[in-house]
Symmetry: C2
Subunit: 216 residues, 2 copies
DNA sequence: GGAAGAACGGAACATTCTGTTCCGTTGTTG
DNA sequence: CAACAACGGAACAGAATGTTCCGTTCTTCC
């Protein structure tokens, strides 16, 4: 029995099916990232497959949305865990932010929220990602460099601001997002000279406020 | 002949018409800010007006979009000019950013671009707003506080990042946007301690890159 | 070799959505 | 009271879109 995750040694229809599996999720991610309301046909077109190849795999549009979003959430968690493995505290914190920005994984969750009924497993993963962001923030503070009034909720919104920047060329998008992430990091890093005497204005967002998107 | 801009002393139908004028643009701004693809009926409903009241004023949806966008552009210019009137250079620069963020006027232009054929007058105003942003940036540099690798193109993207933050309560939205604008300002302000030795990564966006949204 | 089946492409279908028009009504003016 | 301005919202036509279905192609197994 051939391993379905190894597409290389498959031939003909099987190989095509394996390729399509990833082509479809990749296309769906790209298309819905660009326009959360995009029609299913746009996803199929971008993937270079017929519509039936899509409906064979997903029960419907909502199911597709859910899978793509959950996939993004899992990537987020994976990146966070890799960042957490870093030795230096400040490195762990900053590399986390750069990783998420590079992976372009944050806006997925944000823009697609509310367009499908989340599963229980997604809820668990979302909670998990929250815990990870908390731990990363704590390490930032432990390093002594992260300004004291920065909270885990700020991570969400800093990332959201970066994710809003979008250009036709994905690589250019990545570079420019890094530029503004670096700018915000400069404002966060007391070792870079950020004066804390003038604290950030207004309280950070509450959990309540960050969760409203998920309501349908 | 009654002054059409003064609604107070008009009666009956005339007064209603005057109220509707502003109710419709306000509603259109709010609705399209929330969803650039929103149907015309949503604008009418939000304005508490029938559809005919809307079509009496605008030739069609595209015309409405254009007017709302142009109105936003004009507000942008007005805010920039007021900021320019500030005495202190650094004050002029920062107050400009806060003004635009508070007026929630930047994302209008950004999100609606490309959904209508811009007029020549809009092009002129867009050029004008560009010049103003340049002058404001120059004053920032003249104050000696703005880090040297910050360009007018950065203004656009910093504002865009802030505009991406949106919550059900407009006042809360404003507060939180200010929080992240302040964070970026802390990264920009050499007087606040921002170390310039580590420059911002990647070149800023070019005019070309910033203009692609307007293509249809 | 051929029958059965897996996977596919894309036309076809049924809705829903949405921009625009149109008509009857209401209030205003001369 | 006649002409008119403005309005509300039903009606209409056409586009958009989620989903199904059928004929085709390639693979596998007897």
């Amino acid at each position: 029995m051939p391993n379905p995750t190894e597409a290389a040694d498959l031939s003909g229809r099987r190989a095509q099916a394996a390729r399509n599996d990833s082509a479809i999720v990749d296309a769906a991610r790209a298309v819905f990232l660009d326009d959360p309301k995009a029609p299913v046909s746009a996803v199929a077109a971008r993937a270079g497959v017929g519509i039936s190849a899509l409906y064979r795999r997903y029960g419907g549009k909502e199911d597709l949305l859910r899978q793509v979003c959950h996939d993004g959430l899992r990537r987020y968690i994976a990146e966070a865990e890799q960042a957490l493995a870093e030795d230096d505290d400040w490195q762990a914190f900053t590399s986390f932010l750069f990783r998420i920005v590079d992976a372009d994984v944050h806006s997925l969750t944000v823009h697609l929220a509310g367009s499908f009924e989340p599963t229980a497993e997604m809820g668990a993963d979302a909670a998990r990602s929250g815990k990870l962001a908390e731990r990363l923030t704590r390490r930032g503070h432990q390093s002594g460099r992260l300004r004291s009034d920065f909270t885990p909720a700020d991570i969400v919104l800093v990332l959201e601001g970066c994710a809003a920047l979008r250009f036709p060329d994905p690589e250019r998008t990545r570079r420019l997002r890094r530029r503004y992430l670096a700018l915000q990091l400069a404002g966060l890093d007391t070792a870079a000279g950020a004066a804390q005497d003038a604290g950030l204005p207004g309280p950070p967002a509450s959990e309540e406020e960050l969760g409203w998107r998920w309501r349908r």
